[in-house]
């Protein structure tokens, strides 16, 4: 077998005219020229591999960076923020010496190709981000979006994704406490599989991704490196440098949750003994990312011997090793005298660990292979100084027409019977129907600290058994609202997640986001993105909840057609005592139902307009962030002081959807009275934001009303918890049995 000579730095300098497959690796001509300019010569194959993956949209945020800066510039002052944007995940102070880290990421494209493994490794990746901060992961959440519920391909993708999330998360022993499932034909060829995780640590245990201290060792530990997830690198390695190699490698990565569990325990034990100077998980771009980020965030350089990387497949080329996305791997920087102990701990947990390099006092990242130097770069140019694009953006020409197509003008039910039919149709529609067939495949209560899980408004986990301190998390996003107005749509996503956290009694503290959009090369999509980021940053500033990190997923489109702009927002909150939480379910008959907030005629983007008219047009509900803040304060106070026994935020589907859910979960009906000044249709189905419905024990009625009155929050008595049906006086009655059948049979009928 004839091999071409190793493409070392020396060889590259001596052969400036060799053509490299930069275009096949996804680099643009000017980007490649920039690499040549930075290095002062042509890159070696290995260097090209590193630059191409690290300068990809996914790793470099080259299209989104200029907009994302607003999250920093507009960040509100927050005493709670311990670590902000830029690390593996943000960290928030929750009191009693505890810190919580959380983040949401996307794994959209892999999950479409191979739903089970794509979704499973999405969970694995986000959990490693949490470990890398020094925290023990305590819960996961999964916001999911699929194509039409009755489309055959949804039946391929959804069960695989759900099984993958359950399979990986359940094996790890992590409760899945929240998320969403949304169906819309815009996601048919491009489902959104976002994954979030929460971790808990003591303040002093926070770890960062940096390599400092010359002489410190770089240790790669976890699974062996195989040919997983090497996208473009196969072209580089198999066609240009060595024609005799096995053919193309798949982009699919297979996860091993039991290996990940060992990685968690082993890493936490090493942290416990203070053996780790810096740490980074290996995710997208694998070793290329880990080495260049660790080195560029630290004080010195780094020297790595690639021959020492344990391989699953001995035929891998150095380029492939650098780009492999094999799962369940981490990279730690450890002082020389602590290396033995670190390796001992890894051995105890049956985790393969190898010293692959060391921190140097220079400022270069040097990588060796078979004795030759194949990479010699300034790590900052790889990790941080990637291209930055000011992509053109323009409000699409169809936006005005879309907004003019007012949903408030759609034909409304003309009789009580028609209203009843539409309500029944709404609660049975795939988006509004019970998702328990999906969420019951996830473990909710493992570890014994889950306080609330789906279908509650937010998931809640107890952090401290003694004091009852806990955290809550909610994720929300409404692509339909964002399509109508991306600025308002992003704010509504934040407002809903914020409201959901407060509804359970927790105080919202911080935000993570996963921004799912189409191609940034389309000015219309770029405009949607720019507007959504601006909206979210403005709203975070006003609500005092900083963005701590997150992820951008672009190119979510099929051909020329982009998905709805879908900013998914996660809000983390803290509650002093989880015993004070407020559930969704009605607790006791006779309790009074109050509607908090103002109800206007707002049907643009509503569930009603989708279910009854298959319509998307008009404007989304009005945003009033000061109102959201006031509502949250009332809900938190009422929960702490025991003034409410159940609460549910109003969002898609409006009041009737919320009341039906509370009734079915509690097994108790409700009698509703249409308040003065509202028609029954608007009362039941409008989606005005900044609202919640609460059940107040009669003994607390005066106190609760006084509190709302004193703080200036509109409060309307709308009914009472009673009986075994939901009755809207003067309009219609639906028995709980009818409602349960409609609400709970839809999803299993479509997907089971």
């Amino acid at each position: 077998m004839s091999r071409t000579p190793l493409d070392t730095v020396e060889h590259a300098a001596a052969t400036p005219d060799v053509e490299l497959p930069w275009a096949e690796l996804g680099l643009k001509k000017d980007e490649y020229e920039r690499v040549v300019e930075i290095l002062g010569r042509r890159p070696t194959g290995a260097e090209l591999a590193m630059y191409s993956v690290m300068w990809s949209e996914h790793c470099s945020y080259k299209s989104s960076k200029v907009h994302l800066r607003q999250f920093g510039e507009k960040a509100p002052e927050s005493d709670a923020l311990l670590v902000g944007i830029g690390e593996n995940a943000g960290v928030v102070d929750v009191g009693h010496g505890y810190a919580v880290t959380f983040k949401v990421e996307s794994h959209n494209h892999p999950s479409y190709v191979e739903p089970y493994q794509g979704a499973a490794t999405g969970v694995g990746g986000i959990v490693r981000d949490i470990i890398a901060m020094g925290a023990r992961p305590v819960a996961v959440v999964d916001p999911l979006r699929f194509g039409a519920a009755d489309h055959p391909d949804t039946k391929r993708v959804l069960p695989g994704v759900v099984a993958g999330i359950g399979g990986y998360g359940n094996c790890l022993g992590l409760p899945n406490i929240g998320g969403e499932v949304v169906f819309d034909s815009c996601y048919q060829g491009n489902p959104l599989v976002n994954a979030g995780a929460i971790g808990v640590m003591r303040h002093e245990d926070i770890h960062l991704a940096k390599a400092s201290g010359a002489g410190n060792k770089v240790i790669l530990y976890g699974a062996r490196t195989g040919g997983d997830g090497i996208g473009g690198a196969s072209i580089l390695a198999s066609e240009t440098f060595d024609d005799a190699k096995p053919s193309k490698r798949p982009a699919v990565q297979v996860g091993d949750p039991f290996q990940e569990k060992l990685l968690i325990e082993c890493t936490l034990e090493a942290f416990q003994e203070k053996l780790v100077v810096g740490i980074q998980d290996l995710g997208a771009a694998g070793l290329s990312c880990a080495t260049s980020e660790l080195a560029s965030n630290g004080s010195g350089g780094m020297r790595v011997t690639l021959d020492d990387v344990p391989l699953r497949d001995s035929t891998l080329s150095p380029e492939e090793i650098l780009m492999s996305e094999s799962q369940e791997r981490m990279c730690a920087v450890v002082e020389p005298e602590k290396v033995d102990r670190f390796l001992e701990i890894c051995d105890k947990w049956d985790v393969i660990a190898t010293v692959i390099g060391e921190v140097t006092d220079g400022d270069r990242l040097e990588i060796y292979w078979h004795g030759g130097k194949i990479v010699d770069v300034d790590p900052r140019t790889v990790a941080h100084d990637g291209p930055v694009y000011e992509r053109p953006y323009a409000r699409p020409s169809w936006q005005d027409e879309l907004q003019a197509d007012d949903a408030n003008k759609l034909p409304r039910p003309s009789s009580a019977d028609e209203l009843k039919d539409q309500v029944l149709k709404l609660v049975a529609s795939p988006n509004q129907a019970s998702k328990s067939w999906i969420t019951s495949q996830y473990d909710h209560f493992v570890q014994g600290n889950t306080v609330l899980a789906q279908p509650e408004d937010s998931g809640m986990i107890r952090v401290d058994e003694e004091s009852g301190l806990g955290v809550a998390i909610a994720t929300d996003g409404n692509g339909r609202y964002a399509k109508l107005d991306p600025y308002a749509g992003a704010q509504l996503a934040l407002a809903e997640a914020y409201r959901n956290v407060a509804t359970t009694g927790a105080k919202p503290l911080a935000v993570s986001d996963c921004l799912n959009f189409g191609s940034p090369e389309d000015p219309a999509v770029m405009w949607q993105f720019a507007e959504a980021v601006r909206g979210l940053a403005d709203a975070c500033q006003q609500l005092g909840t900083p963005v701590t990190g997150g992820n951008v997923s672009l190119y979510n489109q099929t051909g020329e057609v982009a998905i709805h702009p879908t900013p998914v927002v996660a809000v983390l909150g803290v509650i002093d005592d989880v015993a004070r939480r407020t559930p969704v379910a009605f607790q006791e008959e006779g309790q009074l139902l109050y509607l908090l907030g103002d109800t206007r005629e707002e049907f643009g983007g509503s569930a009603w307009s989708q279910v009854v008219h298959d319509h998307l047009g008009g404007l989304p509900p009005q945003v009033d962030l000061e109102r959201e803040r006031l509502l949250a304060e009332i809900l938190i106070s009422a929960s702490r002081d025991g003034m409410i026994d159940s609460a549910h935020d109003l969002s898609d589907g409006g009041l009737i959807q919320a009341v039906v859910e509370s009734a079915l979960l509690g097994g108790k009906g409700a009698r509703l009275v249409v308040p003065d000044g509202l028609d029954a249709f608007t009362f039941l189905l409008s989606e005005s934001a900044g609202r919640a419905v609460v059940a107040v024990p009669r003994s607390e009625e005066v106190r609760f009303n006084d509190m709302c009155g004193a703080r200036g929050l509109p409060v309307t008595r709308v009914g009472v918890v009673d009986g075994d049906s939901v009755e809207v006086q003067g309009e219609f009655t639906l028995t709980l049995e009818e409602l349960r059948k409609a609400h709970e049979e839809t999803i299993p009928a479509l997907l089971a």
Binding site: Q117, D228, R249, V254, F258
Partner: protein
């Protein structure tokens, strides 16, 4: 009547956690010298009628669309004649 065997294996470059678990267990049980294990699935299909080209094409199709996940797995199809049972 004939038996058609479909063997399904993870593609060589795909991680095989099950195979790895078996491989790691071997030395613990005193079986040395096995450096790698990969685990697959074997399907035995009893086919009515002759196994001609069209029957094999059908089996190929069902293996590709149902028995194997060709994103991460390879499969092979082979025919095994079943010996006639005595007394029939």
């Amino acid at each position: 009547m004939a038996r058609v065997v479909v063997d399904v294996m993870l593609k060589p470059e795909i991680l095989d956690p099950q195979g790895q678990a078996v491989q790691r267990a071997l030395p613990r049980l005193g079986f040395e010298g096995v450096s790698d294990v990969r685990q697959g699935k074997r399907f035995e299909l009893e086919v009515d009628g002759p196994v001609d080209d069209s029957a094999l094409a059908r089996i190929h199709e069902l293996a590709e669309s149902f028995l194997a996940n060709t994103v991460i797995e390879d499969f092979t199809v082979k025919v095994e004649e079943v010996k006639a049972e005595a007394g029939k």
